[in-house]
């Protein structure tokens, strides 16, 4: 039980990633696939942040005197995730616009009926 308690952030974020991948692989509605992509994105961001966590650490901001670098979490994964979130929004918007176009062209969002997207 203590293993789960200690690694709850890892377990949760990997769980999110796996749920997202499952949705992308199995679901046949294009909107659901895009929602799965968003799950994947969130899970990866959460995983990166939790890799950079240091126990009992605070945010890496020297906003008041007396804070020492030893009690702060790793700033590098946070900076990476900051950019990854924006990219995630852009990718999501582009995917949704492609879904809009596909719906106009085929009249459906079912991947089985769209030629060229079947697997």
């Amino acid at each position: 039980m203590s293993f789960v308690y200690q690694n709850i952030y890892y377990i949760g974020s990997i769980g999110l990633i796996l749920i997202g991948l499952y949705v992308v692989l199995v679901k046949r509605n294009l909107i659901k696939v895009i929602i799965g992509l968003s799950f994947l994105d969130t899970g990866i961001n959460l995983l990166l942040i939790s890799v950079g966590y240091v126990r009992h650490g605070t945010a890496p901001i020297f906003s008041r005197p007396g804070l020492s670098p030893g009690q702060m979490v790793d700033p590098v994964p946070q900076a990476l995730v900051l950019t990854a979130i924006v990219i995630g929004v852009a990718v999501l918007a582009l995917a949704l616009s492609l879904a809009v176009r596909l719906y106009e062209h085929y009249g459906t969002l079912d991947l089985r009926k769209i030629r060229g997207l079947r697997w």
Binding site: R55, P75, A90, V100, R101
Partner: protein, 226 residues
């Protein structure tokens, strides 16, 4: 069958990720790069927020590439959704309460976004977050007052100016200090608004660029749903 194959591949992926994460236990100490940034970051860049100095100074070139990715995504969305505007469509004007609420809240939201991206080197926040807040103000206009269109030409101009300011600041750093995005301005007093050299300037540029870009993306998506 499909579900079975998916579950098997998921099990493999979970196994691989768990194997690699067992080398990086949760809550352990930082890597060398992060330690260096935390110990030397405030002297080298003058910013109180280390994440900001990593994003803008240490990995500034990466941020420029990332802003470019956002720009290309917005461009692709515009190209995919492009149609001739049907101006004959009548838009139902919204009610008085909604219109007044929008008009009242919109400048406040813009002000809050500007506050977030100007204080990027002092508080949790910065250009990307502030830009997202500014874009949420535009979303309010799109949803609440559909008869008031934002002008896409002006959004595009703001976006280009933001990107241009970023590149020009980087090139001035190249001319003055010898490498791209040098922090060529004086660092000022630590933990005050005018400090950290070029970081606030770059974050203001990024804030304008991200805000107008996201507003443009939302505008394109809203036009199509009419």
């Amino acid at each position: 069958m499909r579900k079975f194959l998916a579950l098997i591949s998921l099990a493999f992926i979970a196994w691989g990720v768990a194997l690699s994460l067992s080398k990086a236990p949760f809550g352990e100490d930082k890597i060398v790069v992060g330690k260096h940034y935390l110990e030397k970051g405030t002297e080298e860049t003058g910013a109180a927020n280390i994440v900001t100095s990593v994003v803008v100074i240490y990995r500034g070139f990466d941020t420029l590439g990332e802003v470019t990715v956002l720009f290309i995504a917005a461009l692709g969305l515009g190209a995919v959704l492009y149609t001739r505007r049907r101006s004959s469509e009548r838009i139902e004007p919204s009610s008085l309460v909604l219109r007044t609420g929008c008009r009242f809240l919109f400048p406040l939201i813009l002000l809050f976004g500007a506050y977030i991206f100007i204080h990027g080197h002092l508080t949790p926040g910065g250009g990307f977050q502030g830009g997202a807040i500014v874009a949420s103000g535009f979303l309010l206009i799109y949803l609440g007052c559909p008869e008031r269109r934002t002008q896409e030409l002006r959004l595009g101009a703001t976006e280009s100016l933001g990107g241009l300011a970023f590149v020009v600041l980087g090139l001035v750093g190249l001319a003055v200090g010898g490498y791209f995005l040098t922090n060529f301005l004086p660092k000022g007093t630590f933990n005050s608004l005018i400090s950290a050299g070029v970081i606030p300037l770059i974050y203001v540029a990024i804030g304008f660029k991200v805000g107008s870009e996201l507003a443009g993306i939302m505008g394109n998506l809203m036009e199509r749903t009419k």
